[in-house]
């Protein structure tokens, strides 16, 4: 699947998008896998309350299933308007 990062999450991890092959069942499982990779991921995901997630471009929460998902995006709370 494609994993996307926006705003300071993108800056902290150092890339906007990457392909990830995973057997993770939920967003939280995927986060745990990413955090185990490298410090920059661990740092970016250290406070989940400061993050939001979208699965296939729909806002959801960290318990959500990612089975069959094509795209998961992580970003800080939105500041539109």
């Amino acid at each position: 699947m494609d994993v996307l990062y926006f705003a300071w999450v993108r800056e902290r991890i150092g890339l906007p998008k990457e392909k990830v092959t995973t057997d993770a069942e939920t967003v939280a499982d995927l986060v745990a896998e990413l955090r185990a990779r490298e410090d920059r991921y661990d740092l970016a995901f250290s406070d989940l309350s400061a993050l939001r997630v979208a699965v296939d471009q729909e806002l959801t929460d960290f318990d959500a299933s990612i089975k069959g998902a094509r795209e998961v995006a992580f970003f800080p709370p939105m500041t539109g308007g």
Binding site: W8, A73, G80, G81
Partner: protein, 148 residues
């Protein structure tokens, strides 16, 4: 209903003038415009707005659809820019048309509250000093959603 996500500036006067034209049953039109504000007394060089291409349009359309479900509206317009803007530039606008002003005002407020916290935009401030900082979401913006 029209929802536009674009980098280029928009012509507020022309958009407001063209909005709901021909709808003779609409007695009220409300418009709101968001402007890049330099609250640091000359300290802001530019505002950069990042968004999530693909999701942004859909999210804005869903918010506008919900407004049409909740209020009696003849038309809805949402324009939101992304990219780099200087203080004084218009970031976005919403317009609502309704038979009566209460629906038009409330729907416009609803659109703004949801646009702020549920549309995938992120603002970054570029200070004149060269420093940059992401604008943090405010608790009061999240709280504003609970009244709807």
């Amino acid at each position: 209903m029209r929802v536009v996500v674009q980098e280029a500036p928009f012509d507020f006067g022309a958009e407001a003038e063209a909005f709901a034209v021909g709808r003779h049953d609409m007695g009220a039109i409300v418009t709101f415009t968001g402007v890049v504000r330099d609250f640091g007394k000359g300290g802001l060089d530019a505002m950069e707005i990042e968004h999530y291409p693909g999701m942004t349009q859909k999210a804005l359309e869903a918010i506008a659809d919900e407004a049409r479900n909740r209020w009696f509206l003849g038309d809805v317009l949402v324009i939101h820019r992304y990219g780099r803007m200087e203080p004084g530039e218009k970031i976005m606008m919403v317009a609502t048309a309704a038979p009566h002003r209460k629906d038009a005002f409330e729907a416009a407020e609803y659109l703004m509250d949801y646009l702020k916290s549920r549309a995938p935009f992120w603002k970054k401030e570029h200070a004149a000093t060269g420093e940059t900082s992401w604008v943090a979401a405010k608790d009061e913006d999240e709280d504003a959603l609970t009244r709807w």
